[in-house]
């Protein structure tokens, strides 16, 4: 028993530094701003060669336990990678495959599904994503899932429609929530099945495309217990929010760098604009949000890693704070750049788009605020609290 609870994973270890350097170098080499712009115009919206390189260096296997041919790393390590992905605006399905699909499979506790599906995800041969949301505002509320699955011998048949599916247009494996007689359940569906129709949506975020998927008699495989998906969805969303928070912190950090570099170099009225307090103080406020976003996402990841009681609150706090912080910093980044920041050619707009889309993807700050109050038990009376 120690009087003070040490949280060594809040500090940066040498191994963490190495991981960060490795991913940053990989992103610099393969996903430079110019390259991101090039691939975002293509049909896939990302570069398959980079995806293979990421598989080779083990990034896709990061969260996969060793018994499923993965590296068995935790949320703190994943957070470091997501921060780097966020900085680079990495346009590939990393968030979809790792934060959403890998976590959904792990949370399902279905050993057979995990050993069948995770090795492919870890090797990069399977791009996976999670199709959970149907109509607007329904994302968080499993009760409103209208997609249904019925049993057909050993298999299941799926009917319904999902939307806002990250990288749904490129996926080889869809994890889908649907209702059965027993309740909300999770299914694995091959998008090549004739009963599946996937359509890429025109998306605000040019570097993370969303898709709509229609299931009309699609063959599906049950993952986890029939009717047992409510807690699976809840913990998958919680984990994905923590990963997204790290990605947002990384994006915000990059926006700050862009602003500070520009403020040092751009001259108006005969001096660098960074010497004006109106600009300098804005940059400090950006720094504050960047540093606190990194701390919040790191803290939440550490809570997840250690199973801390604070996790349900910390995950939502990180989600609410990092979402707003990134959007604010991305917005101010345009302002610091003046007219240049409003051009198509400048990368400020790509972060601006990503920040709005990310803040909305898994629920916005308003919803997180309400969730935080609920998790702290505000609605409960003193006696039951």
């Amino acid at each position: 028993m120690s009087a003070v609870r040490a949280r060594p994973d809040l500090a940066i270890s040498g191994e963490h530094e190495e991981l960060r350097d490795m991913v940053r170098k990989l992103m610099t080499d393969t996903s430079s701003p110019a390259r991101v712009r090039e691939v975002m115009e293509t049909k896939d919206g990302f570069d398959r060669a980079t995806w293979s390189t990421m598989a080779e260096v083990g990034l896709l296997a990061l969260l996969v336990p060793e018994r499923y041919k993965g590296l068995g790393q935790g949320p703190v390590e994943a957070g470091i990678v997501f921060e780097e992905m966020g900085r680079a605006l990495y346009p590939g399905p990393y968030f979809a495959s790792v934060a959403l699909a890998t976590n959904a499979l792990l949370c399902s506790g279905d050993e057979t599904a995990c050993s069948d599906l995770l090795p492919g995800i870890a090797a990069g041969s399977t791009i996976a994503t999670l199709a959970m949301v149907e109509a607007v505002k329904d994302w968080d509320s499993p009760n409103t899932v209208r997609a249904v699955a019925r049993r057909n011998g050993a298999a299941w048949i799926l009917e319904g429609a999902k939307s806002f599916v990250p990288h749904g247009h490129a996926a080889d494996l869809l994890l889908v929530t649907a209702r059965t007689h027993a309740g909300l359940s999770l299914f694995a569906v091959d998008p090549a099945d004739p009963g599946v129709e996937t359509r890429a949506l025109t998306s605000l975020d040019l570097t993370r495309r969303l898709a709509a998927v229609v299931f009309a008699g699609a063959r599906a495989r049950l993952v986890g217990a029939d009717g047992g998906a409510d807690p699976v969805v809840a913990s998958t969303v919680e984990r994905a929010l923590i990963a997204l928070a790290a990605e947002q912190a990384g994006g915000a950090a990059r926006c700050l760098e862009m602003s500070v570099d520009y403020a040092k170099q751009r001259e108006q009225f005969g001096r660098p604009i960074g010497s004006f307090q109106a600009i300098a103080h804005r940059c400090v406020e950006m720094l504050q949000r960047v540093e606190f976003a990194r701390a919040a996402s790191r803290y939440a990841a550490s809570c997840q890693a250690t199973g801390d009681d604070e996790l349900p609150v910390a995950a939502r706090v990180a989600a609410a704070y990092c979402g707003r912080a990134y959007r604010w910093v991305a917005t101010e980044n345009i302002q610091v750049h003046g007219g240049l920041g409003f051009t198509w050619e400048h990368d400020a707009q790509l972060h601006y788009r990503r920040s709005w889309a990310s803040e909305t993807l898994l629920g916005n700050a308003e919803e997180h605020y309400m969730a935080i109050a609920d998790r702290l038990g505000l609605g409960r009376t003193k006696e039951t609290a």
Binding site: S2, V260, G274, S275, Q277, A295, A296, L378
Partner: protein, 405 residues
């Protein structure tokens, strides 16, 4: 080089020491807040009643002396000056442990131990370190900080208090303001002008005896109604050259050291023992106001908690990095900026919940008491460097932006 004792062994000895002198607190260190029980004070600044304070001081000095004798007064300090030479993690562990006992604690010694002692450790000569450090950690001496003046606030380098050399003596004349704890202090770290210029190189730091002839201390009443600070008048106060801290003309550097420790200490209090940022207390307030079911209040509460928690997480990350030996840079001032913003947010939220109970005392427990946050918040944006000065400092030293011309 001797091995550090294992932390468990160290804590076991600490527990024996604490238990032999102080009763254990009834429950755990963080006793849940009970609505309607005891005082409803919401303490924003240390504004103790002068009589109670005078009574408490001997107990605080006895506590420090006992700590000193048992080797717990300066756990991470260098052994040559009476420290124990153990890692900071041991110190943090001891502090947590001591909260479980009804011991006086060090809240009244924040300036002395948290700001002046580390300044002495960095800038004083050997003789001074031996003279002051053990005395400060034993609380034989209590120190205050004599920096701000009526005409030198944010522009601290324009200090006018003068120290004039006369052989191996100096004679100090001037006026200082916003001095916390001057009336309790035995010594003060004072920054004086010792040459007409150049700016930043014309200042010198001294340790001045607060009981010396020519020192006059007056309480300064602040807008909250209380008096946490003092005005200090110095009229030809004599100090020896041996009381000079650092070289002549190096006073600005000495002052910057103290100020950086001040910001650290202030940022830390963001989740300190005062309990004003207790989520539980806020929830009970909302329930007693009958607003627990109000979605607007719930949403605003969630937003406030987000800001408070993130500030706490950032503090914990800083603390963990310090424990791991990664020293924080000037970005530590971000924590202080967060604290002053959060005080303002807290005031806004609480008044929105209290409504008219915030503008007149109805006598209802735990309501009007919150106005101390509203009245204290403006002070937090100013103390320890105003928000604007800190932003200038961070812009230059962390972001490397050009200095404003």
């Amino acid at each position: 080089m001797t091995e550090d004792p294992p932390l468990e062994e160290f804590l076991a000895a600490a527990e024996v020491f604490l238990a032999s002198r102080y009763p254990r607190r009834e429950s755990e260190d963080r006793r849940p807040f009970q609505w309607g029980e005891g005082s409803d004070e919401v303490r924003v600044f240390q504004e103790p009643d002068p009589d109670e304070e005078a009574e408490a001081m001997p107990r605080i000095r006895a506590w420090r002396a006992a700590l000193w004798d048992a080797g717990f007064a300066w756990i991470s300090g260098p052994p040559e000056y009476g420290g124990r030479g153990l890692p900071r993690s041991y110190e943090a562990a001891f502090t947590s442990l001591s909260r479980k006992f009804d011991a006086p604690g060090d809240a009244a010694l924040t300036v002395s131990l948290g700001m002046i002692a580390p300044t002495i450790l960095r800038h004083a000569d050997e003789r001074q370190k031996h003279e002051y450090l053990p005395a400060l950690f034993r609380a034989d001496l209590i120190a205050c900080q004599l920096f701000s003046e009526p005409d030198a606030g944010s522009d601290l380098a324009s200090i006018r208090a003068k120290a004039v050399r006369d052989g191996d003596r100096w004679r100090i004349t001037g006026q200082k303001v916003w001095t916390s704890g001057a009336h309790l202090a035995d010594v003060g770290e004072i920054i004086c002008q010792t040459a007409p210029g150049p700016r930043h190189h014309n200042l010198t730091a001294f340790m001045v005896d607060m009981h010396a002839p020519g020192v006059t201390i007056r309480p300064l009443r602040q807008m909250t109604g209380g008096a946490s600070f003092n005005e200090v008048f110095l009229d030809g106060v004599e100090v020896g050259d041996s009381a000079r801290l650092g070289a002549e003309g190096e006073g600005w550097r000495v002052a910057l050291t103290t100020l950086s420790y001040e910001r650290n200490a202030m940022g830390h209090s963001a989740f300190g023992g005062a309990g004003i940022l207790s989520t539980d207390r806020l929830m009970q307030l909302i329930r007693h106001a009958g607003l627990a079911g109000d979605p607007l209040v719930k949403r605003r509460f969630g937003e406030l908690v987000t800001e408070l928690r993130v500030a706490r997480y950032a503090q914990e990350v800083t603390a963990e990095r310090m424990r791991a030996g990664q020293s924080p840079g000037p970005e530590i001032a971000l924590n202080k900026l967060a604290l002053s913003a959060n005080m303002a947010r807290l005031g806004e939220f609480v008044v929105s919940v209290l409504g008219s109970r915030a503008i007149a005392d109805t006598g209802q427990w735990g309501t009007y008491a919150w106005t101390s946050v509203v009245l204290g918040a403006p002070g937090y944006r100013l103390g320890g460097g105003s928000d604007e000065i800190l932003k200038n400092m961070i812009a230059e030293r962390v972001l490397g932006l050009p200095r404003a011309t």
